[in-house]
Symmetry: C2
Subunit: 192 residues, 2 copies
Amino acid sequence: MSISTDGLERRGGRGARVRILATAHELFRGRGINATGVAELCEAAHVSKRTLYQHFSSKDDVVIAYLGECEGDRRARLVSGELSPRAVLLELFDALGDGPRPLRGDPFAAAAVELADPSHRVHRVAAAAGGRLATRLGELAFEAGARDAERLGRRVALLYEGAAVQTLVADDPAAAAEARTMAAALLDDAIE
Amino acid sequence: MSISTDGLERRGGRGARVRILATAHELFRGRGINATGVAELCEAAHVSKRTLYQHFSSKDDVVIAYLGECEGDRRARLVSGELSPRAVLLELFDALGDGPRPLRGDPFAAAAVELADPSHRVHRVAAAAGGRLATRLGELAFEAGARDAERLGRRVALLYEGAAVQTLVADDPAAAAEARTMAAALLDDAIE
């Protein structure tokens, strides 16, 4: 039995891809997407431009992969396992105020603002993620026994986006706590 | 009596300044702040770089003047004259879905996202405008006879920011209508 060269190459390749994406999280969230050039990204990730373009056909593809990972993380947080659906829904707000300062709010909203043209590929990906968040929140509200759960999901998503922007703009977790209180009240009103 | 040369120069100067700011509104809102270079701004406003730098010491100063005008417009909309304080407060949401497509949401949130560093001069100006909005909404809630008006102001501001982001991200005025309904309910609950 032998390890195939192909396997090794792929493993090395994945290492570079992982490093590029980890660096993308740091720079896109910390400084912004437009403020981060490909050259900088490569330098900070310790890869050559050639390597980056072996893994991603453009910077937009890096951004889309980064948003895909952000959404994966968010989806994982929105699975009701040990916590009740109500608790899972409300935990979303707690996550906003966590993490290193300055607080960066919602990566999808930030990406849609930065890539402002609604027909831009990145903007469309970010908009679709926002829609899926509202849908998932509606499912959780339904599992929690809420009336009019789909609409409630949209309303909680709206509170979440507001808190995310205020968190980012004011670098202050108070908005997330206020939004959480409002979401809890909406949810409790909708449950018998 | 004679028109002083000094007066003429200033009048001419104001013309250029007005053109630069009108163009800034168009480009900053339409394409984004970081995506708009000084050269482009000058070309679209039909002024030389030299003229721009006679009026503004940097691009950041153009952005700050642009945000100042946006805030002046917003403040003017939030004066209760013929309309009741309640109606003025709710009209804010209607304004979100107005205007040319794509809808651009809240210019302050957009600026704070684009100039992501919280210590950046533009970011601080945008954050301060957000705080003043919450304060003004609290005053209107108080005038409308609401209990706990200051907190209500912060809550309505949160709904507004959420709707602004969703409007921008999804290019859909439905979020503004939903947020308006939520704000009206909060207000009515707080008024005897």
